[in-house]
Amino acid sequence: MTGTYLPHGWPDGLPDPDLDDLDAGDWWLECARRRLCMQRCSACGTVRFPPRPLCHRCLGPSWWWQEVGPGGEIFSVCEPHYPAHPSLRDRPPYLVVLVTPDGSGGERLVGNLVNGPGDPNDPADQVDLLGLIGRRVNCQWEPVADRYTLPQWRLA
């Protein structure tokens, strides 16, 4: 895929995610390899996201990357209209989804739905947002320049 769902490097001046974060940096490396992962506790098996140094259930410090998805289900959705940044002023609304990837034990990721039912770039009242909840999606990788790669979602 060429281009990104939100304006390239969007929004201009918005901070990049902290790729060097000692708890989360490796997650971005896995994304660069196009592996959609969540941490799985070595002690109790709980899957967790976002990356944390300890298991919130048993406080175990050991974990491994469990691959999740690439399929999943939309848990919730919203559609920002108001341009929260000047670079969005002439842009149509966009869709943000919470997705429960398969095999995640219910843990959710935030992403964008890059193809709506109908085009979200059309006059936005056309999208039945409540009707998207529960729909199946598949992960689609979206590199942002050469800095990092985002897991995005398409309707299955």
Binding site: L6, W10, P11, G13, L14, P15, D16, P17, D18, D21, A24, R48, F49, P50, H56, F75, S76, V77, C78, E79, P80, H81, Y82, A84, H85, P93, Y94, V96, V97, L98, E107, R108, L109, V110, G111, N112, A124, L129, L130, I133, V144, Y148, L150
Partner: protein, 388 residues
């Protein structure tokens, strides 16, 4: 010996302005609000030995203390969250005075979105860290955006449509028409205008979102014995609760254990057990209304409506003074009075219990104040008038 409760003896506010209209600084507005509250209480600035505000207050407690010439600050505290703390600041001040850490604690908040970064705009400084790193790259940045999927899921779970929260905004505007202090005084809102208003982020329309303001409010907390010794009138802080459900680390935490809630399910139970007071004993509600659907969830979790029925209650007119049984945000609140990060709702609750509201609920004796429905940190408290 009877418990020496904490109480509120004075309330006040600065002049309220629309965003970017204040001719004076946020510092000045904070000072104006504190002085107004002290004047209302009949307490001198020289007696103040504690200050409490929220995190990210631009005029933090030590700065305001120095500016107001406080001789000795014995209690300096910032609630860790934002507008979820409208009750928590009072509870923290109350803990300070009842333990003797301080005698006179002023809670205040000044928020000037014309002078400071707007909450609805991207701040582009540094790197997105922690949980933010997994929200911001997808355009989930502002409080409204982060709360929106939670509200959407609440609507979905309860079979409601995107306009279900209209009665919350309509009630606030209705009440504001009686309150000359309200920025929306003289600007009534009807359902057609609400429905024709633009989307900020679905499911929130313009009128579901707090009114950006330049404004400050304050109130004074002391022990009841201290108030009684000076003959001050007081409103009792009967009890309260604060905190968060599991895994709520930022606003809109996608992996909160209870996702589509206002955050009061457990807290409400604790509040009512602790105080021995229940929803039927409460005469007026002040529920932080940013953003509409989460107010519906809060009203349900706090026990005033069965799950999923607050929208219907609102549509019947239940939230409107003087005829509705659940008068809600009777000054106009965040949506139509001024957005003082919710502190104006505490001021209004106290006025109700003193018989001084512009939408006075007959015989109002007890008020419920709840902060930040849906935020990661929330709080609630019960205030009672005429007991000391």
């Amino acid at each position: 010996m009877a418990t020496d409760h904490a109480c509120i003896v004075g309330v006040g506010e600065s002049t309220y302005y629309r965003r970017a209209r204040s001719p004076v600084s946020a510092f000045r507005l904070a000072a104006d609000a504190v002085r107004a509250a002290l004047l209302d209480a009949g307490v001198g600035i020289e007696e103040v030995d504690g200050l409490v505000s929220y995190i990210r207050e631009r005029t933090p407690v030590e700065v305001l203390a120095a500016g107001l010439g406080v001789r000795r600050l014995r209690f300096a505290n910032s609630w860790s969250g934002g507008g979820g703390g409208i009750a928590a600041v009072a509870l923290n001040a109350g803990m300070a005075v009842t333990t003797g850490a301080a005698d006179v604690v002023v809670c205040y908040r000044a928020i000037c979105q014309g002078q400071q970064p707007r909450l609805g705009q991207v701040r582009s400084d540094g790197t997105a860290t922690g949980t933010d790193a997994f929200l911001a790259p997808f355009g989930l940045i502002t409080p409204a955006q982060r709360m929106a999927p939670k509200a959407m899921r609440y609507l979905y779970d309860n079979g409601l449509d995107l306009d279900a929260a209209a009665p919350v905004a309509l009630a606030s505007y209705w009440h504001a028409q009686h309150n000359p202090r309200a920025l929306m005084y003289g600007r009534p809102l009807d359902l057609d205008t609400y429905l024709a208003s633009r989307w900020i982020v679905k499911p929130f329309r313009l009128y579901d979102c707090a009114l950006e303001s330049d404004a400050a409010a304050a109130f004074v907390v002391v022990r009841e014995s201290w108030a009684a010794a000076r003959g001050l009138r007081s409103v009792r802080i009967v009890g309260g609760v604060q905190g968060s459900d599991a895994r709520q680390d930022v606003m809109g935490s996608p992996n909160a254990e209870r996702y589509a809630t206002a955050g009061f399910t457990e807290l409400a139970r604790e509040l009512y057990e602790k105080t021995g007071i229940g929803p039927p004993d409460l005469d007026v509600l002040q529920v932080y209304e940013t953003f509409g659907p989460m107010v519906l969830a809060a009203v349900e979790e706090l026990g005033f409506c069965a799950p999923g029925t607050a929208a219907e209650a609102g549509a019947r007119g239940d939230f409107r003074w003087p005829d509705g049984p659940l008068p809600l945000n009777t000054s106009g609140g965040n949506l139509a009075e001024a957005y003082v990060h919710g502190l104006e709702l505490v001021v209004e609750a106290v006025r109700q219990l003193r018989g001084q509201s512009h939408c006075q609920v007959d015989g109002a004796r007890r008020a419920l104040v709840a902060g930040g429905p849906g935020a990661h940190l929330v709080s609630a408290m019960i205030l009672e008038g005429g007991v000391a």
